[in-house]
């Protein structure tokens, strides 16, 4: 119960938050909870555990630290510039919670454990991509999405922990390193990392 409340609040903060640090803190909470939930299934074999440890390190420590270091170098990126006003973001967060609860009631999917949690985290990640205009928010959203999908993978395929962990590793690699490299390149042109400026690329 308390876990669900923590996930609810963290996911809502992902969408409602307007500063990068708050959203980053919410993501870290989500990543820690997701890793704690996956940990029992990853302890079956040494390879799985090694990959799991690597993934968790990247998702929980390396990626956030990278983002914090980037913010130090580039202060204008600390503001997320959401495209919706606060009441609409709040309504979206509430709507996502209701949608996740509704998905969990679909009879065909009811046997999947933790479905409500997974659906909520995935939808919050996607919601972040839609609402925020800062590229850093997109990176964090992708990482949150990855956390949700990894959790889904662990629940749907408990007999294949290595595959799940490998997938999660690739996810984290892309999100952390490639994402940050892209962000650095983008920041050279647009310090505020506004994705709306990508419209100029239209032919």
């Amino acid at each position: 119960m308390n876990l669900e409340v923590a996930v609810l609040l963290a996911g809502a903060l992902l969408i409602v938050g307007a500063r990068t640090l708050y959203v980053l803190a919410a993501y870290v909470v989500l990543a820690v909870i997701a890793s704690a939930l996956i940990a029992p299934s990853a302890l079956v074999s040494p390879t799985a555990f090694a990959i799991f440890a690597l993934t968790t390190l990247m998702k929980v420590i390396v990626a956030p630290l990278g983002i914090v270091w980037f913010l130090r170098e580039n202060p204008p990126a600390a503001d997320l510039h959401p495209s919706l006003a606060l009441p609409q973001r709040l309504l979206l967060a509430i709507g996502i919670a209701v949608a996740a609860a509704a998905i969990a009631h679909v009879p065909a999917l009811a046997e999947i454990p933790l479905l409500r949690l997974i659906a909520y985290v995935v939808l919050c990640g996607i919601g972040m991509l839609v609402v925020h205009r800062n590229l850093l928010a997109h990176v964090i959203g992708l990482l949150a999405l990855g956390a949700g999908i990894t959790l889904a993978g662990a629940e749907l395929a408990p007999q294949l922990p290595e595959s799940v962990e490998l997938g999660a590793t690739f996810d984290a690699l892309v999100g952390t390193f490639i994402g940050l490299a892209l962000v650095r390149a983008f920041a050279a042109q647009n310090p505020m990392l506004d994705v709306e400026s990508l419209r100029k690329l239209r032919g």
Binding site: A85, L86, P87, L91, I94
Partner: protein
């Protein structure tokens, strides 16, 4: 009888609460700050000063401060603290929201009558934001009333501690910030014309009338904190007093930590409070089925 004593106690302690919050805010900002009893001395000083009135104004301008003070006194006489309020059997949650609207209505009319541009600006903002805060206040308190069973203030203290009442409290906390004119919505210590909301309405008043208006603001503030303490768990009077002190400290911390919002972002905060309060009622509707 106890209700009357309670109302008098709340009124007497209201400037003390304001003084304490002001001193704490000054301390947090690194200044020594005024003494805790400074608001009492300010009020006494104002009562002794000469009152100036704009010429050629209607009687509304002369009558408005008294009406606003009467509204604040009625509010203080309604909230329970260590006993039920004196007017508790008559005035309920819905009536209170309309009563606060009456005070705002009269003060705004008086501001429009003075022909001052600052007062007109403040009147426009107060009327607009007041129009948005009153629904939020009503919904937040009704959310608590629907869970607690009854629109009387005494019924608010029997709330169960669940998600619905937490959301209702969060909405009410935002409403308290707006109604007591605290940063990040309004700054009580500013007199820049482009940033004033509540202060602008008081610009043309001086002397005993200004004392009445400021005393009304202090009494309203302590009454709002008392209602907020009602929504938190704990029934005894010392629990309420403790919660009120904690709320005062929390509000001062928020005032120090945040910057004032842009004017047109204030309706967003009010919209968020409205949505939180509506969600709290919605949770009660869904949860009521078990």
């Amino acid at each position: 009888m106890t209700g009357l004593l309670q109302a008098l106690a709340l009124v007497a302690c209201a400037p003390l609460l304001q003084g304490a919050m002001r001193s704490l805010r000054a301390r947090l900002a690194g200044r020594p700050g005024p003494s805790l009893l400074q608001p009492y001395r300010d009020l006494a000083k104002l009562c002794g000063k000469e009152a100036l009135l704009p010429d050629d104004v209607s009687p509304l301008v002369r009558v408005a401060p008294g009406i606003v003070f009467g509204v604040a006194l009625t509010f203080a006489a309604t909230v329970p603290f260590f006993a039920a309020g004196a007017l508790e059997a008559t005035v309920d949650v819905v009536a209170l929201a309309f009563l606060l609207g009456l005070g705002r209505f009269v003060l705004t009319l008086a501001a429009l009558d003075t022909r001052s541009a600052f007062a007109g600006m403040a009147a426009s903002r107060e009327a607009s934001f007041g129009g948005l805060v009153e629904p939020a206040l009503l919904l937040a308190l009704l959310g608590a009333a629907v869970s607690g069973g009854g629109t009387r203030f005494s019924a608010l203290s029997t709330l169960p501690l669940d998600a619905a009442s937490t959301l209702a409290f969060a909405a009410f906390a935002l409403v308290v910030l707006v109604e007591t004119a605290r940063v990040p919505i309004d700054n009580q210590e500013t007199h820049y014309e482009l940033t004033m909301i509540h202060e602008g309405l008081l610009l043309e008043y001086s002397g005993a009338q200004l004392a009445l208006l400021q005393a009304a603001a202090y009494v309203k503030q302590i009454a709002f904190f008392a209602v907020a303490a009602l929504l938190l768990p704990g029934d005894a009077w010392w629990a309420h007093a403790g919660w009120m002190a904690a709320l005062a400290i929390a509000v001062t911390l928020v005032e120090t930590a945040l910057a004032k919002l842009r004017l047109f972002e204030v309706p967003q905060v009010l919209g968020a409070a409205f949505i939180l309060a509506a969600t709290s009622i919605g949770l009660h509707v869904v949860g009521g089925l078990g």
